[in-house]
């Protein structure tokens, strides 16, 4: 193998092994630390400087150069603002999907190619098959439990044709750690990071409250319209959410719907509540990695990272949206989340789940909202 590859080094285990493997395969490797976010928030210390220090340790131990690229502006404009705006409108977006599309496989890819890279590489768990003329084919990783194609469906097939995912063929995360250890990489035992990349485990609430104003509103019972309690902003709630309602005991309740316009959150104690189930989803803002929609038919669809791959009838429409018909009702997924469509191991693309038309309640005439 030969060619110049720019590797996004995050300070974590996966990207470290990614860089090591590519160097071993004979690529000319340049490591790049993308600084996307560096601001501390109340109760959250941004770990970027520590992550950079780990990335440096990795680069030094591999004898590779590390550049630091400031991507904060691109990240702010395309990921953070998108996130805040979507929540403000009552959606529950996937910032990682946006980050991959616009920063890692957007800004970073463009700059790397402009600086002479033949390929870019990241530590994602995914596989890619290049084609002579592009677009490439994106496939799920060998380790299905770590597969990250759910976050990659908006990446363009043309860019993917110049992307390498060496970690995608490692059979397990334990294997990745083992291989890091075998190479003496200083981060082999570093714990997995989780949560949204820049907010970390602290939670979205802190982040959203830093950007959006609190606004007191009612938590109402979906069946009756009865006020059960209060919240400090409907944008803080997500369909399907069970925790954090603070209704002072009683049965477990689920969020059925939020209305950021009226600032109400509707909940139910009935797990069979029709608002929590759907037989059909409408996908908007659709993207196909191959560049065009596949034929209507039976595909596998996933609505959550590493979530169940469910067979469904997928129907691309002329207006660019996609209808997903589930053979039996599935739990409602919060609007704004991604639905990703697969043909076997191939990730075809996906769309953003639109707002559900919550069916009228048939059990109570008291419903007021």
């Amino acid at each position: 193998m030969s060619g110049r590859v720019f590797v996004g080094l995050s300070g974590g285990v996966d990207s470290a092994l990614c860089a090591a493997l590519l160097a071993e395969q004979g690529y000319g490797v340049t490591c790049v630390y993308m600084r996307n976010w560096s601001r501390d928030l109340p109760g959250f210390t941004c770990p970027w400087a520590d992550e950079l220090a780990d990335a440096e340790r990795v680069a030094v131990s591999l004898g590779l150069d590390l550049a630091v690229w400031d991507c904060e502006q691109a990240y702010k404009e395309t990921v953070v603002d998108y996130l805040v705006d979507a929540y403000a409108r009552g959606f529950t977006p996937n910032p990682d999907v946006m980050c991959n599309q616009t920063v890692k496989f957007g800004t970073f890819a463009e700059r790397a190619f402009a600086e002479g890279a033949d390929f870019i590489a990241t530590g994602h768990y995914a596989a890619v098959e290049h084609t002579a003329a592009g677009p490439a084919t994106l496939l799920r990783a060998a380790d299905e439990r770590k597969d990250q194609t759910y976050f990659l469906w908006r990446v363009s097939g043309a860019v993917l044709n110049r992307v390498l995912f060496p970690i995608g063929s490692v059979p397990s995360k334990a294997g990745v750690r083992e291989m890091c250890r075998a190479r003496g990489l200083p981060i082999a035992d570093k714990p997995d990071s989780d949560g949204i990349c820049f907010i970390g485990p602290v939670g979205l609430r802190t982040f959203l409250l830093d950007s959006l104003e609190r606004k007191a509103g009612d938590i109402v019972e979906w069946e009756t319209g009865r006020v059960l309690g209060h919240h400090d902003g409907a944008f803080l709630f997500t369909v399907g959410q069970r925790r954090g309602l603070d209704l002072g005991g009683g049965p477990a309740r689920y969020v059925v719907a939020t209305d950021t316009g009226k600032n109400t959150v509707s909940v139910t104690a009935d797990p069979k509540c029709p608002g929590l189930w759907t037989a059909e989803d409408v996908l908007e803002d659709v993207h196909w990695i191959a560049g065009s929609a596949p034929d209507a038919g039976e595909y596998l669809v996933r609505t959550r990272h590493t979530g169940t791959l469910r067979p469904a009838h997928v129907e691309p429409r002329a207006d660019g949206t996609v209808r997903v018909f589930w053979p039996e009702e599935v739990r409602t997924v919060a609007p704004g989340q991604s639905a990703v469509i697969y043909d076997g191991r191939i990730c075809l693309g996906g769309g953003i789940i639109g707002r559900h038309v919550v069916p009228a309640c048939r059990t109570s005439p008291l419903r007021k909202f």
Partner: protein, 392 residues
Amino acid sequence: MDAVGRTIYLDYGAATPLDARVRTAMEPYGSELFFNPSAAYDEARRVRADIERARQTIAHLMGARADNLVFTAGATEANNLAFAALSDDAHVVSDAIEHESILACVERHAHAIVDVAGDGRIDPADVAEAVTPATELVSVGLANGEIGTVQPLRALARVVAQERARRLSAGEGRPIWLHTDASQAATALSINVSSLGVDLMTLSAAKMYGPKQVGLLWADDGIVLAPLIAGGGQERGLRSGTENVAGIIGFAHAFELASQLRASEMRRLEELRLRLVRPLTSAFPNAVIAGPRNVRLRLPGLLHLSFPGVEARRLVLLLGNEGVLVATGSACAASKMRISHVLSAIGMDEQTAAGSLRMTLGRPTTADEVDAAAGTIIRVVAAEYGRLGIRP
């Protein structure tokens, strides 16, 4: 690592280990002498007396009166306390190579930042020019922690005295004081407040083989300080909160030791620094030494050496893997993604600045350690130049 595989620590400017004698002196105050010094019973009054004795000791070593000392949680707090004494409309004068804790305080006031020469020295005439009728504070560190420059404080004191005299005859009531953060200097230089001619001085125990989070601000008679921390009224109301008893006791012991050892340590560290720099500059003729050459104008145990073309951040990691612990430019600047403000201020170009190591020798440093460290540094820097295809 030295011949027997021990780690060689050359970063005493960042932190000094607690001297064993200091630790022993501190120990009882965490156990049998744990009492709150504000309590009324005899046991607590003895602890109170110990604090006051420590205060006396420290004051004596600085040529000051004990009542003019305020113990703080470190030098940064002491610096902040000095600036808190200023009026809202005060103007301050400082220089471009101060520690961040000074520069951040300066930023909160109308200010002038005086440039420094290539060796980091301030020209007192520049300070005289920067002083305005609204200037209430001139703050200049006695010795710079990054490149080791010692500043002409006595000359600065004359500038301040002149302005004070001018205001007196002009009938202007605004005070003007000279403050110095002497944290980096205490083990190497005499820090007698009256011979330096300063009005306020910051010191830190952590840089003199004492405990961390203990420092002090000395303020001359007539300077009315404003507390940053309100509460139970300890430290004459200027720093509330139960006293850090063990820390203060440790501070006094550390300071006594530092004063006893100062003269011999100065000579010893100067020799060791030269012993370190000679092989490095002969192996790398392109290496750049920052700070004054004259030993009387610099910290004896600090060597700031730049290897143009290499990345110091990598060198620090590579040297760490080999058991030699050094700093890049400065510990504070190292956590950020930019060239140290000190190095830009002395006019060092970015490429040279990015290849800068700061090595600070300390009381435990031996000639063997210095020789072993020099060997490791030469090997690591040469390998890095080789990897980059640069011929130094």
